[in-house]
Symmetry: C2
Subunit: 376 residues, 2 copies
């Protein structure tokens, strides 16, 4: 097996495959990237217990002298290609378990793993994909994925629920203390589905989408979903179980609505959090919001050991409803505000012990909900 390829092209593709390499694995062969070298293209594969990635490379710089299959230790290979200072890289199999990589005046001999050990990966390829724009998927991930649970008490909550029916895509993530939901109308027509994608897989997919700008086909079966791009297949397992019905916890009426400049609110909350005490249960900073009769909003925290912090904010528009006092985790509000594109947002309150909702003027399909905490 012998071929040469442009170094930048190879590195860009390896960077995508890196996201499929396991951090640690009981199956050492998975630390390798599988190279399937054909006459006019490469097929490169990486995989772990959650994700499998396959990249099709037919760059015009590719020159295959002799076809073949090898499994090259992934992280070493990527480091080498990243560090070499050359326009072209040459790969040459010298015997069954040794490959020479040449680039300018650098030469690396890497021991190979047995390519026959590499598991066959069964990429879905069914009919009737759902077609989504890559940037829409990236936006949905940014808007929802941070709200998934990080602990494994309820495994189903460590993923984002994607539900499709009647041309509507409903996505929701919650860790049971806060919730983020995005519902949009799609032009595509497909079978209905209701799946939960692991948060970590969405993180890796999002990084790949940084460099991909095209329509993406989703192929779904009960255990996994395949995101099919022009040259990249990204497949992830799905979480098993039924996602809870979150609709019933979202209040429908909001007697109090306060509009804010997002950046101003964000900065005030971050300052108040500097001194705020930790909530014992969730280990997050608890702050208080107080709408005064003069419609100035006070945000404050009290820490018996350190001291107090108080911020006054003038709402950015007309306040609706009576005065209100409510306490909640500042971390939740900060993360939620950062997920909004809008510069103007509203806080919508249903009552002092009911969840409150954040909406943005430019994020019409997005809703964020935070549960308050009771304080004395």
């Amino acid at each position: 097996m012998t071929f040469t390829i442009d170094r930048d092209t190879l590195l860009n593709n390896l960077t995508i495959l890196q996201k499929g390499l396991p951090n640690k694995t009981p199956l050492p062969i998975l630390t390798a990237i599988k190279f399937d070298v054909n006459e006019d293209h490469l097929l490169l594969t990486s995989s772990n217990t959650d994700i499998a990635i396959q990249v099709f490379v037919d760059d015009k710089s590719l020159n295959v002298v002799k076809a073949g299959k090898v499994a090259i230790p992934g992280r070493y290979l990527i480091e080498i290609v990243r560090k070499v200072n050359a326009q072209k890289v040459e790969f040459q199999l010298v015997d069954d378990n040794l490959i020479i990589i040449r680039a300018d005046r650098s030469e690396f001999k890497l021991k190979l793993m047995d390519v026959e050990d590499y598991p066959e990966i069964d990429f879905l390829d069914l009919d009737q994909p759902v077609v989504l724009d890559s940037q829409l998927i990236k936006t949905i991930i940014k808007e929802t994925n941070y709200a998934t649970a990080t602990n494994e008490k309820r495994p189903i909550l460590t993923g984002v629920n994607f539900k499709y029916n009647n041309d509507n895509l409903y996505t929701v993530a919650t860790d049971s203390y806060r919730l983020s939901q995005k519902n949009i109308k799609l032009r595509t027509h497909s079978k209905t589905f209701d799946i939960v994608i692991p948060s970590k897989s969405l993180d890796e997919l999002s990084k790949i989408l940084d460099t991909v700008h095209e329509d993406i086909e989703l192929y779904i079966n009960p255990n996994k979903v395949l995101f099919k791009m022009n040259n990249i297949l990204f497949q992830t397992r799905l979480l098993e179980g039924t996602y809870p019905d979150t609709q019933r916890i979202i209040p429908q009426e909001f007697p109090v609505v306060i509009p804010f400049n997002k950046e101003e609110l964000l900065q005030a909350v971050e300052r108040v959090s500097l001194l705020s005490p930790k909530d014992k249960d969730t280990n997050y900073n608890i702050i208080k919001l107080n709408l005064r009769p003069d419609h100035v909003v006070e945000i404050s925290s009290t820490n018996n050991e350190i001291g107090d912090a108080l911020e006054e904010i003038i709402p950015s528009g007309t306040v609706t409803g009576p005065i209100i006092k409510i306490a909640f985790s500042s971390k939740y509000l900060v993360e939620a505000l950062k997920s909004f594109s809008s510069s103007e947002i509203t806080l919508n309150f249903a009552g002092e012990v009911k969840p409150f909702v954040i909406k943005g003027n430019l994020d019409q399909d997005l809703l964020h909900l935070i549960l308050p905490v009771r304080i004395d």
Copy 2:
């Protein structure tokens, strides 16, 4: 005690004082910054077991309504001033143990520590300072400090030796595997001295010198040294003991001299190190350098588990002397090369089992030495 001051001015000064705050301390009062508020200036102090810093602030924005002394929790104060979005900050003592900090619409009440508990710090103020340019001190720190020992087996080696006599300043650092030395002629005339400054203190001083461009007076006694700037006093304890005589381990004759472009050598060494095995004793990567009869230099590493790496480098000028093979830690060579300003350097060899020396065309006063390792 009540005063107002420009927020940026205060933050810049607090950032300097931060370098004197202890990471952890058995003496809680040292987590505070001492404010000595006088009619027309502030005197701010921080200190830990190694370092004491005092800053004199007479900025024209300072407006003292009432003088006084307080000890304010340092890290909280700095975080607050860093995060507030205001042009001016106001401090007001409300009772003996509570201060209010106001900035725009933010208000913080911080509990104070008892200022009477703050230790009296005895800043040296003797005759006959040594006067050094701040950028010269910064350069010396950059060129030597990284070569100090990080483990405490021989405490004296965790500092840099500064020795002055006959108008010459000799500085040297070594961890007993490599050594960095800078000797320069000074215009100043002072008493001779021979001191060892802790590496960590030099790190903190170097950060302060990023923003200071002026002559600095050094006052020295057997236990400590004071760096006196216009508005900043930086005092550090000295290491006790006699610094070893390092002159005798520096070879005087170099039969082999190889010139390199520094960047080219650095990149080749970093690439070869990707696969190089770890030396058991020092945990650093061992690589081999081989001057071939055709005067091409090979740099290589062998790792029985992963594979081999080989780089060829053409020296950047005429090579002197016979062929040579030598092995050493790549980490030492990488760190040394990065400390040189020169784009052209020479490796100077006294023999295959003797220390070799690095010099730079633009770093005439600087010498770096690395001990080779024996390999089979």
